[in-house]
Every structure is written in C-alpha cells, then in structure tokens.
C-alpha cells in the first residue's frame, strides 16, 4: 500500500518568484490534458497578467520504465521496446539501438541493408516533420495544413506497412541488417513519394511562409541564441534554427551518410519561424537523400551472415544441422556481448539521439540508456517562454517538437 503525499506549496517555493506568494502573480497549470501540450506534459506557469514570468515543465506522466525492462530481456527482444519510446521516429530508435549493439559485438552490416536503413530513416524524418507541421500549425489555428500533411504522411505509413506489416512500430531494422528484404513494390512506392513531395512542400510553404497570420505568431517569438543552445545541449532543428550547422549525419556519419550529397539547412533568427524554415528545408534534403539512395540500392543480402549473432534463414534450417543449432541457441539463449560499454549517436528528427549500452558478458544488456532529444530540448522551456504571452506558449511547445514518449521513456 503506497502512502499518498500531497505536494505542498513550500516544495515549489524555490521555483517561483516571491510575488507568487503574495498573490501578485498567478500560478496556472497548463496540462497534462491540454490539447496543445502534445501528449501529457504539464506546465506550471507563473503569470503576470497575460505575460509568462516563469514556466516550470513537469514530465514523467508517460514514464514506462523501458530502460529497466530492457535489462531483463535479451538483446534481440529488448529492441521491440525501443519503437515505443519516440513513436514518431520508431525506425530511428531501432537504428540507434542496432548501431550500439553492432558496435558492442563488432558486427558488420551489408551494403544493401545500410542503404535501406538510410531510406527508411529519411522517410521517417519526413513523416515526423509532417506530423510536426500539421499539429503545430493546428495549435496556431491553421486547420487546413494539418489535413494536407496527414495526406502525405499516410503514403509513408503505407510504405512502413508494406515492408513490416506495421504502420508505426516496425522493428524492421535488426542487429546485423534489416528483418527481411523489401517486396518488389517497395521501390515504385518510394519513388512515388519522392516525386510527389517537392511539389507538396512548396504547397505548404505557399500557405504559411508569407501568410501574415502565421508570421505574426512565429517571428521574434521563443528566441534562443546559439550559445544558449550549446550550453543547454539543445540539438536538431532548434540549434540549426539558431544558425549553427550542427548535424550528426555530417559531423559523425553512420550507415554510410558520408556518401550522400546533402546540405544542412540553417536559419539565423532562432525563433519559431527559424525552426519552421529549417524543418521545411530538411524535408527537401531528405527527399534528396532518398532519391540518391534509391538510385544506388545494390542487390545482395540484407542481413549479416555472422551466424553467432544473426539467425539463419528458414531455408537453411531444413538442410543444415549447424544452422538448426544456431537458430535454437539464438532464439532461446541469445548472443553474448562483452563486458564493455559503447555509445552510439544518430540524428533524429528532433536532435541528438544516442544509446549508451553496457554488456556484462551475458545475453542481456546490463544497462541501456537512451539519450533523447525531447528530454533535453524541453529543458529550455523556461528560457524560451519568459516574457511572452500565454498564447505564445502553445506555439513554442509546438516549435521544439516534443514527443513525450521520448522525453519520459
């Protein structure tokens, strides 16, 4: 039986100014059920009239103990939990976990699998940015953009379903490659998306970029400087919107990103509008990467043939005793990883996504830690909202593109 303890005002006193105690400023709870908080985020706002004096984010409503659960599962089984963290970037979550496992055990990935990984993460980046565009504009009362953005996102979810049978929680990327080869309809479907997207992105921009209703709500609001971004560890479109061309795909390439020709868009205002411009350009760059990847998609295996870590295909099990033994060992016991620790990083649609993985010589991870961009970026809320109107808080939450599953883990 747990004892329920009420949190007293005294415990929060050091967070709010003295004026809140005399009733001069008002304390207002925004969330956790507020529609514009994108899930279950609670903000404690201290208001002077309509001006935000301080903003105290309260997270943890979606904490599911994924890291603890992963410690109790083998390396292959633990991967399924990673999709559920950042559910807008589930492919990226699989990828960073697989990169960490591959780094820990020293496993090579075939070229075809690497190119497929790039195609899928870039498609996922477009779909994540589309959802961001739709929902954050919905918060700013632009209803029609949401409908357009969902139309294109549906095409990408269709591709995810085609390759894995699941629209969102794909677990398609596995340690050593990808689950299985893509069906023949995959390339035409992705080609279709690549052909359609540039025109559609121009369509969204024609609705927003010069629209006064949009620019009045975004320009000069929620400004953060490049120095503050680095001090707080902010990454992704937030730091690029403040004028720093920092992208881990360029800085520390993985999965062969160094072979692709793309640019890192920046915008130097550091406000909501800057982040908007960066994300729109990033979608164009993602289309460019996918187009290059499609043109160089080689034939060949999609899973490593190192049988100590990757289970053999079904066809081999019937004819080879050794394959049967490997199959049995991998699905009952799993593979053992050395007593070492590694750190793998990728660029998710929201910023630095990293995995700290430690093995203990056995088949289960001793410690998995997800370094998630939403958690870090959310920390800047007090900085971004200070001295703005309550109505702008909504736009600012939208502009840092948080996913609470990612922040709370």
């Amino acid at each position: 039986m747990t004892n329920i303890r009420e949190v007293t005002v005294d415990e929060l006193r050091h967070l709010v100014s003295d004026r809140a105690m005399t009733g001069e400023t008002m304390l207002l709870n925004m969330g956790p059920q507020h529609p514009s908080t994108h899930g279950v985020l609670r903000l404690l706002l201290e208001l002077d009239g309509e001006i935000v004096v301080n903003c105290i984010p309260d997270i943890g409503f979606l904490h599911t103990g994924v890291e603890k659960n992963m410690e109790a599962k083998t390396y292959q089984k633990a991967e399924v939990m990673t999709d559920r963290l950042d559910y807008m970037n589930s492919v990226g979550n699989n990828l960073v976990y697989c990169l960490a496992v591959e780094k820990l055990v020293g496993l090579d990935v075939p070229v075809r699998a690497q190119v497929l990984r790039v195609i899928l993460t870039e498609l996922q980046r477009i779909s994540s940015h589309l959802l961001w565009l739709g929902t954050s504009c919905l918060d700013l009362a632009a209803m029609s953009v949401f409908l357009y953005a969902m139309r294109e996102r549906e095409m990408i979810l269709g591709v995810m379903e085609m390759i894995s049978g699941q629209r969102m929680m794909t677990t398609y990327i596995r340690p050593g490659g990808v689950w299985r080869d893509v069906p023949p309809e995959f390339v035409p479907a992705v080609q279709e998306i690549v052909n359609v997207m540039p025109g559609r992105i121009a369509e969204y921009e024609s609705m927003l970029t010069k629209n006064m209703l949009f620019t009045e709500r975004t320009q000069g609001i929620g400004v953060i400087s490049a120095e503050d971004c680095a001090r707080y560890g902010l990454s992704g479109p937030v730091i690029r919107g403040a004028g720093v061309a920092f992208d881990l795909r360029k800085a520390r390439p993985y999965s062969g990103y160094e072979q692709y020709d793309f640019e890192v868009p920046t915008y130097d205002t550091g406000d909501i509008f800057g982040r908007y411009m960066v994300r729109m350009e990033e979608m164009r760059q993602s289309v460019r990467i996918v187009r290059q990847a499609l043109s160089r998609l080689p034939n060949g295996p999609v899973l490593s043939d190192n049988r100590k870590f990757v289970p053999p295909p079904r066809s081999e099990i019937g004819v080879s005793m050794e394959a049967l033994i490997h199959h049995f060992k991998l699905w009952t016991e799993g593979f053992n990883a050395p007593r070492e620790s590694v750190f793998a990083t990728t660029e998710s649609p929201r910023g630095i996504l990293g995995v700290f993985l430690e093995g203990d010589g056995g088949a289960k991870p001793y410690r998995v830690h997800y370094v998630t961009p939403s958690f870090v970026n959310l920390q800047s809320m007090p900085l971004l909202t200070r001295q703005h109107f309550v109505a702008d808080v909504v736009g600012i939450i939208g502009s840092i593109d948080i996913v609470l599953g990612d922040a709370d883990r």
Binding site: T2, R5, V7, K68, G106, A230, S341, V342, F356, V371
Partner: protein, 170 residues
C-alpha cells in the same frame, strides 16, 4: 582516437590522475570524484567540450566499492569528439558535486540520475524527482530494486490474488 583527443587524454592524465580506456572507438576517462568539478571546468574552458550530451549511471550491485559509476558524455563541436567520463562511487550514501554550474543542461539529467539511482548531487538547485511520481519510494534503476510483475488470475486463485492487491484492501 583523433590526435587532438589523444593530446587531451594525455594532459588530463597529468593534471587529474585519470585513467583512460578505449573500446570500439570510444574513449573513456576514469575520474575520481574529488576532481570532478575542476576536471569538467578544464574540459569545457580549455579543451572546447562545450556541449553536455548525457549524464547517467550504472549500478554494479552487489559489489559495494565502487557500487555505482556515474557516466558523463560530453561533446566538442570544435574538434568533433565525444568523450566519456566515468566516476566510480561507493554504495553507502552516494553523492557527487553537481556540474550544473558548468553545463546548465546537466540540471534535468542529474535530477533523473537522482530519481532513478538515488545518487545525490551536492549543490544542485532543484533536486526533485523528475520521471517518477513525486511521492514514490525507492530508486527503480538500482539492481536491487525488483522488476515487478502482475500475477495472472485464474478461476481457482482469483480471490486469493485479489486479497494481495492494493485496491481490494480498502
């Protein structure tokens, strides 16, 4: 390991008596807790590690000395290096000085480590629980904290299990 990082590791060895480890391209420094703040100040100001990427911990229970390793990852935008710093801590009332003043971004990450591992950060401005409910007892990511499970109820034992469930008591 890049040349600049090699030089940094060499300097750090001389100044703060760190040990260095290398695995799969990752460089780790083993630092003792008394040098923590001075070492991070030096790394940020002199060696351009301007960005905090992560603060987390690992629990080696039942081993007691050291029971915890607090693990920091810092990134240098100038040299494009990631450095891992591990700080061993004993199991009895583990505490460390905060690096919040050096890297403001460490604020929430240290709160998370306190919440899930029970490692206190001295001088932290706002050490409250962050992901667990504010009235939670215990620190879930410690290895001596059980994972927990839900008992499956069948017709023959449903009533018996109900008695053990909190909602059935009052």
């Amino acid at each position: 390991m890049s040349e600049t990082l090699e030089q940094i590791v060499k300097d750090m060895k001389e100044r703060f008596a760190v040990e260095s480890l290398e695995y799969a391209g990752d460089t780790t420094l083993l630092l003792s807790p008394e040098y923590l703040q001075a070492a991070f100040q030096t790394l940020r100001d002199e060696y351009h590690f301007n960005m905090i990427v992560d603060v987390t911990a690992v629990d080696y229970w039942p081993q007691q000395e050291p029971r915890f390793h607090v693990v920091y990852h810092i990134y240098s935008m100038l040299n494009n290096d990631i450095l891992r710093v591990r700080v061993p801590l004993n199991g009895n009332g583990p505490h460390l000085p905060t690096i919040e003043k050096i890297y403001p971004g460490a604020n929430w990450k240290e709160r998370e480590v306190w919440d899930l591992f029970g490692i206190t950060f001295d001088g932290h401005s706002d050490l409250r629980r962050i992901v667990m409910p504010y009235d939670w007892q215990g620190h879930p990511l410690r290895k001596d904290y059980p994972l927990g499970y839900e008992e499956v109820q069948f017709t023959f034992n449903a009533a018996e299990i109900d008695k053990r469930k909190p909602y059935a008591k009052d």
